[in-house]
């Protein structure tokens, strides 16, 4: 059976790609006929497996870790197309192994959805894990934030080497207290930047509410000290370095600190000494992952797509991309991948859009968004739940201005599809 599983899986993969099918089917086939395939293949990697999880920023952070490790000459296997569940990993492996099932890589860096990661780590205990944050994201899927924190705790508890934690997210930092096996390292944020990172606990602390006291902070391997328009300061090894950044958005750059901690741990355990300049250069060149803070060009002016999927992410998006001078569109869908529950819109303050107003609203919940803006006294141009005509009207009406679209996941896919008809949009297979 084992002899046939890899060739057969690869064959299914080819056929399903020819048919334009999803990425998971070949994974399903190989899992059925050869349940040990994934575990066996990943166990051959000399530097093991690193898992990246958390509610926000997994895709871009994973991309950063991969590029940082590649700058150190390592061969990295990763699940690039966002198939962040076990079957997707198996499918991605099928694409990279040779016909005899061998994987030519030093390490696997895998983005895993919190709930699926639990199943994955039970079968493949990772050597490294990087846990980013627990934000209010698709709570209708997991039930509660504390539940999500428990999922991340489980990933950490199965990690055999090093766990990298977000020092500034209390639910993530607290995981350290529950561990006795793995080594714990942190990434952190300068106090001056903390206010741009609301966590869900202080989302609603209105004027006059006491701010919960911060517990004593552990030492962080890498601390993000400052974020400029196209550069940032990171502190590590007792010194502060300034580097240019292609990434936009404070939260992306905070995740760069996370990626740096993990990459330094892994590279430090490799055969060759760490090339620190190479790491920094790679960091400065990382571009955002698909759809995350992408900048396209329409009518010779920038059009930014900002993916928003939970209150903290939306707040960070509004803060990271100031509205001044921009035409603004917001597209909110409530399909399963977006989260069906619209309550999160009420946990975001939209005052920052009051001055310029919002030119266009769209998506299946466009009128929920309109209602939300009405209560924050933000002027609304036009509302059309249909994305194609709404996007066309938005572009037509703001020809002389740079544009920004805040959108949920499936709204972003629809917008990219429309934009690909008029400008160059990266195609992700």
């Amino acid at each position: 059976m084992l002899y046939f599983s890899v060739p057969l899986g690869k064959l299914v993969r080819r056929v399903s790609r020819l048919r334009g099918g999803g990425s998971a089917l070949p994974g399903l086939v190989v899992e059925k006929i050869d349940p040990g395939f994934m575990q066996r293949t990943l166990s051959t990697l000399p530097l093991g497996v690193a898992v990246v999880s958390g509610t926000n920023g997994k895709t871009t952070t994973t991309k950063m870790v991969v590029e940082l490790l590649e700058s150190q000459g390592l061969k990295v296997f990763t699940n690039r197309t966002g198939s962040n569940f076990t079957r997707g990993v198996a499918a991605a492996l099928l694409g990279d192994v040779d016909w005899r099932g061998r994987l030519d890589a030093d390490i696997a860096v895998l983005e895993l959805d919190e709930a699926h990661a639990v199943h994955f780590v039970n079968r493949v205990p990772p050597r490294y894990s990087l846990l980013l944050n627990v934000l209010r994201d698709q709570l209708d899927r997991f039930g509660e934030i504390d539940k999500t924190a428990q999922l991340l705790q489980h990933i950490a508890s199965k990690t055999t080497g090093t766990v990298v934690l977000n020092r500034e997210d209390p639910r993530v930092a607290r995981i350290a207290d529950t561990l006795d096996g793995p080594e714990v390292r942190y990434f952190g944020l300068d106090d001056s930047l903390l206010s741009t990172f609301p966590n869900d606990d202080d989302l609603r602390a209105g004027p006059g509410s006491p701010v919960p006291a911060l517990p004593a902070k552990p030492h962080a391997d890498v601390v993000l000290r400052r974020v400029g328009t196209d550069d940032a300061d990171f502190e590590y090894d007792g010194a502060t370095v300034t580097t240019g950044m292609k990434l936009r958005g404070v939260y992306n750059i905070f995740n760069a600190a996370a990626a740096l901690v993990l990459a330094r741990c892994i590279a430090g355990n490799g055969a060759a000494p760490t090339d620190h300049d190479g790491l920094l250069k790679a960091l400065s060149e990382v571009a955002p992952a698909f759809g995350r803070g992408e900048s396209l060009v329409v009518d010779g002016l920038p059009l930014d797509l900002v993916l928003v999927k939970n209150p903290s992410g939306f707040r960070l998006g509004l803060k990271s991309f100031p509205a001044g001078g921009y035409a603004t569109m917001v597209a909110i869908n409530d399909n399963y991948a977006d989260g069906r529950d619209m309550s999160w819109l009420w946990d975001v303050e939209f005052d920052s859009l009051r001055e310029g107003g919002v030119d266009q609203l769209s998506g299946s919940r466009a009128y929920d968004m309109a209602l939300r803006l009405q209560y924050d006294e933000v002027a609304i141009g036009a509302v059309n739940p249909e994305i194609a005509p709404a996007l066309a009207a938005f572009i037509q009406g703001a020809k002389d201005k740079p544009k920004r679209i805040f959108c949920t996941y499936t709204a972003m896919l629809a917008i990219r599809r429309e934009l690909s008809k008029i400008t160059t949009v990266e195609v992700v297979s």
């Binding site: 509410s209 529950d341 309550s343 009420w346 299946s364």
Partner: protein, 246 residues
């Protein structure tokens, strides 16, 4: 005297109960809607907060309380019990209240967890809640004799049954509501509206918001004169929400 206070028809003190610990799924939206609609009706809102250990404010006209995670409920439990007599007095006296999810449960008689331990409530509402393994999640439409269709979203594993001392808020043509067996949602008692619906509840259901406001104003000033809030977006948001899948 400033022009604003000359024009105001009066001040309404709105108290948020435990906003620090019981505040999830857009509960803030309910407080924001009360605040803005009071203004649109020509009244001056005064938004107050009560958190664990605070002095309980006097002259409260309207109370709004939200949901929480299990951890939040544990934090407020003892403090809430210590305020039992105050809150009972306000409720029996007719103070309008909106209680969502977690505080709906804790205003009832008790919450019995899955493992069998009993968390006492303050017994303002004749309801009891039992923790289950089943999570009730999704869009809900409630048909209410008093407010028409109520639209929202539920996400809870506690299942509540009503005693004879309260009326249901309505029945659920779509979604589950109080529990997975009797097709009823929420509770009504005196001027209390209790519900599992968040999303937030009030923005898309201005009829409930205006009931709470009108009741608060009438109790304080004898009569209520309505303004003319623009509810075009609320009407459209309701139409579109009603068409979404469970």
């Amino acid at each position: 005297m400033s022009p604003a206070s000359e024009e105001s028809k009066g001040t309404i003190r709105v108290l948020q109960l435990y906003p620090r610990d019981m505040n999830i799924y857009g509960d803030w939206g309910n407080a924001l809607v009360l605040q803005q609609r009071l203004r649109w009706h020509g009244y001056t809102p005064e938004l107050l907060e009560y958190n664990v250990g605070d002095d309980f404010p006097s002259d409260v006209d309207l109370i709004v309380g939200g949901g929480g995670q299990d951890s939040g409920q544990l934090v407020i439990q003892d403090d809430l019990l210590s305020r039992e007599s105050t809150l009972k007095e306000l409720a029996e006296g007719g103070t309008p209240m909106l209680l969502i999810c977690g505080l709906y449960q804790l205003f009832g008689r008790f919450f019995k967890t899955r493992t069998g331990s009993v968390i006492p409530g303050i017994g303002v509402l004749d309801v009891e809640t039992h923790g289950t393994d089943e999570r009730l999640i999704g869009n809900v439409t409630v048909s209410s004799p008093e407010f028409g269709d109520i639209l929202g979203y539920e996400n809870h594993s506690g299942q509540t049954t009503l005693g004879p001392g309260v009326q249901p808020l309505g029945t659920t043509p779509k979604g589950t509501g109080n529990n997975s067996s009797d097709g009823k949602e929420g509770a009504r008692y005196r001027n209390i509206v209790a519900s599992y619906l968040h999303g937030s509840l009030l923005p898309k259901n201005p009829a409930i918001a205006d009931f709470l406001i009108r009741t608060a104003v009438e109790r304080k000033y004898g009569s209520f004169s309505a303004g003319a809030p623009d509810d075009r977006y609320a009407v459209l948001a309701r139409e579109h929400a009603a068409r979404r899948p469970r």
